[in-house]
């Protein structure tokens, strides 16, 4: 351990740490452009220069290792002047694009000028003219005039994805970022480049000109599109109450979690956000003779409860089948087990998950649902059933989720469902097979729920809602609790579940796996 002083504040630091890492861990902010904790220090932006007592020149915080007894100043006159110098240099060749640049409001150059600049600009020469919109791949645009040559993009593609699409070309002030090949930046992590670019040089064509960051609200969530469970931020326009069309999700960003996804998310999780507010099933409905009739949750609940009670009394619970999927949270899966398997003795709780994809070596897994591990730990068999197994001899079918016709063809699903007397569908989405059911009830997406998910490594992640519930939709856990109460199998048990927190507490008692601080 090394004992050092940063701005007079004593710190004990592990040997071998850089000043930057020591400062970051102590909450002391040293400004930086090229440094990123995921990469080897580069030392080219010169913004992180600090003063070390006894040394004649300023030294870089990002690459200088602490030594016992070091006295570091991050705010001395020399440091202040050096920082202002770096900003003055960068802004000299930087275009005055703020009014039209997407990065405004979340731009490091803007923020640092506010904090460390505030000088009177004297540059009156002609700025270098460069390419302003070089399309770098499916969704990226490079503006070479804005680029400050921090080379984070180049290093991300070299050190993280190891695909090396980008490099630096030419020399001196004519240096520019560019692709080596004619087909540039075509990998599943390209969206991260927009996040790590400190300025508006690399921007997302998907987000271009849509809004200003200060109009957006941000919620925290977990991406459900594979079993990694990457932590995300969801940026959305809040819109107006009860006017769903004014609410819009505009962006998903990565949320740092060194235990799960590090600093990144993949493009699959980043760009699919339109599923959150497009084609949503938002009102409870029933289909009678092919016609869709609006109903309310209470009515649906009563009808379902009566059907179940009827079958239980006549000892025909074998005629009930449940099709679930592993987008359901741990709490919801636990309720399924408790209510259907344990209380009602329903044997057929089957799982229809989205089909597997291809995983990569970074984050994306082949398994494309977020909670298969959770379902396994709760004790379900996840093998894909045949449509026959689900519908043969079934009088009451409950389908949670909407992956039926991703695994089976629509015609086959139609034929199979016609054999079932009463069919309930709990789904968040508008899909072709919705009209095949008697009751279609709107549920929440992961982003609108609270609960927990277990990733493929066995890490249990608790999360809260990032977005509000849309229309009349409810999270599945709330409906299952109401059903439990309505059925009166064990009223007091279900009545304690006012939130997923209580469900989780019960779950831990029965399944010790979930007791973890992993």
């Amino acid at each position: 351990m090394a004992k050092i002083l940063i701005d007079g504040k004593p710190l004990e630091v592990t040997d071998g740490l850089t000043i930057m890492k020591a400062a970051d861990s102590a909450g002391i902010i040293i400004p930086r452009f090229c440094y990123h904790p995921a990469f080897v220090p580069e030392g080219s932006c010169r913004m992180c220069l600090v003063e070390i007592e006894g040394l004649p020149k300023l030294e870089l915080a990002c690459s200088t290792v602490v030594r016992d007894g070091m006295k570091i100043s991050t705010g001395s006159e020399n440091v202040v002047e050096a920082r202002r110098g770096v900003l003055e240099f960068l802004l000299a060749e930087h275009p005055l694009d703020c009014p039209i640049c997407d990065k405004a409001g979340e731009c490091t150059l803007q923020d640092y000028y506010e904090g460390y600049g505030r000088y009177k600009g004297v540059f009156q020469e002609f700025k270098e003219k460069r390419e302003k919109k070089l399309v770098l791949g499916k969704s990226l645009a490079l503006d070479r005039e804005r680029c400050i040559l921090c080379t984070r993009c180049v290093r991300f593609l070299t050190e993280v994805t190891k695909t090396q699409e980008l490099g630096v070309f030419k020399r001196g002030v004519r240096s520019e970022i560019g692709p080596y090949e004619k087909e540039p930046v075509d990998n599943n992590y390209s969206g991260n480049l927009v996040e790590i670019c400190p300025v508006g040089a690399i921007t997302d064509l998907d987000f271009r000109f849509k809004t200003r960051p200060w109009f957006l609200n941000t919620g925290e969530s977990i991406c459900p599109l594979c079993s990694r469970g990457c932590n995300i931020y969801i940026d959305y326009l809040p819109g107006f109450a009860r006017q769903e069309e004014t609410k819009k999700v505009l962006r998903i960003r990565s949320r740092e979690n060194l235990r799960v996804n590090g600093y990144w998310i993949c493009d699959l999780g980043r760009y699919g956000y339109s599923r959150l507010d497009q084609n949503r099933w938002e009102e409870p409905a029933m289909y009678q003779a092919g016609k869709r009739i609006g109903i309310n949750w209470d009515k649906a609940l009563i009808v379902l409860a009566e059907k179940i009670k009827g079958l239980v009394i006549r000892a025909r619970t074998a005629r009930i089948a449940v099709l679930a999927q592993t987008y359901l949270t741990n709490e919801e899966l636990f309720l399924l087990r408790r209510l259907f398997r344990d209380d009602l003795r329903v044997e057929r709780i089957l799982f229809v998950d989205p089909p597997q994809g291809t995983g990569d070596e970074l984050l994306l897994t082949a398994d494309r649902s977020p909670n298969r591990r959770g379902a396994q730990e709760i004790g379900f068999d996840l093998n894909l059933p045949t449509l026959e197994a689900a519908t043969q001899g079934t009088e009451l079918l409950l389908v949670f989720g909407s992956f039926l016709h991703d695994r089976f063809d629509l015609a086959g699903v139609k034929t199979a469902l016609e054999k079932v007397a009463t069919k309930f569908l709990f789904t968040p989405r508008v899909r072709d097979h919705n009209a095949l059911f008697d009751f279609v009830l709107p549920t929440a997406m992961t982003a609108e729920k609270s609960g927990s998910l277990t990733n493929f490594e066995g890490k249990v992640q608790k999360f809260g809602p990032a977005l509000e519930l849309r229309g009349e939709s409810l999270p599945e856990w709330r409906f299952l609790v109401n059903l439990g109460k309505e059925l009166r199998t064990n009223y007091r048990y279900y009545n304690q579940f006012v939130s997923p927190k209580e469900i989780f507490r019960e779950m831990v008692k029965e399944i010790p796996f979930f007791e973890q601080d992993r």
Binding site: P41, G43, S44, C45, R46, M47, L49, K57, L58, L60, S63, E81, A82, G85, V86, E88, F89, L90, A92, E93, V122, F123, Q124, E125, F126, E128, I148, L149, V168, K170, R171, G172, V173, R174, S175
Partner: protein, 415 residues
Amino acid sequence: MEEKVLTRHFGLENFYKIEVYLKQGGYQAVKKALLEMKPEDVLAEVKKANLRGRGGAGFPAGVKWGFVPQKVQKPRYLCVNADEGEPGTFKDRYIMAHIPHQLLEGIIISSYAVGIHSAYIYIRGEYEAIAQRLEQAIAEASVKGFLGQNILKSGFDLDLAVHRGAGAYICGEETALLESLEGKRGHPRLKPPFPASVGLFQSPTVINNVETIVNIPVIIAQGADWFVQKGLPKDGGTRIFGVSGAVKKPGIYELPMGASLKEIIYKYAGGLPEGRTLKAVIPGGMSAPVLTAEEIDIKMDFESLVAANSMLGSAAVIVIDDRTSMLQVLKTITKFYSHESCGQCTPCRIGTSWIHKIVTRIAEGKGEKDDLETILRLASNIKGKTLCPLGDAAAMPILSLTQKFSKELAAELPN
């Protein structure tokens, strides 16, 4: 005339051919080192000779060699820096053209001393003919058994290759040289770690200038004491001064370390052309701070020039007379550094170009009142703040010129 040490045979015909070189006593130093001395003895002798680097930085060669770890399980490398990029410097091209075999001797002895078995000569791309001459000399030396395996049956192996650069001043900076040699863009590396521990291909590497290396056979043949006597107590040997600019006899002049600058200009280089008066002298290559005509009464050694707030650098003396506008000199200097900046770090990349833009604007007659103040401030923001010494190499002449000739420059600006 002082006794010449390095340039003794510069006029001798075909001295670059090994037969002629051998006849004059060539490769005796190699024989002495490899067959009669232990590597650590060679190292000790070079240390004792107080040979300071001749590339510009002036770091003691023996001390640098001593930094190379001997116990690491990695190959050690020697890189001879023949990039000779510093404007005003042309001594190394003469050395390599006239006495290539002495350079090879120096390489062999240096490698032996440090335990190096692979050596490179990194030569600037523009020196195509000289690179060919070096290749020729290497071929001749290999045939005679001075290179390759088991040299002179001593058990010492050494492979030597010539690598040509591609036209970048920055590749004269030692870590950028290594990057270029590895096939990458010539971007300097952060130091520490220093090349002596982490150098070429992440292995311990010694990098020395051509002139430094050609002094090694002399030290071994004549002994360290003799060598020190030729120069100054802490600064052994002779120096090859390159004189250019407004003199009657531009060229190279080998003189003892500590020779008088006045003598170099007036006695050896023949003084200024008729009717011209001295205005300024750049003493050590373009990146050395400029001396005014009143400041040339000075000894040309490392310490004396540092005391005068300049540097000996590559000992390239550029003489400027009253014909030359210092504004044009400033424009040339800034054009060079902005063109050669590698672009990695912010202050040098943008600062050199910005200052050049200001100077160009002044030269077009559109100068502003505060321009000189801005130039000084920007240069101070470059100096000491960059990733490699090119920033300092740019900032120092800009600062010294703007300060010492502020009156002449200010005359171009509106008051």
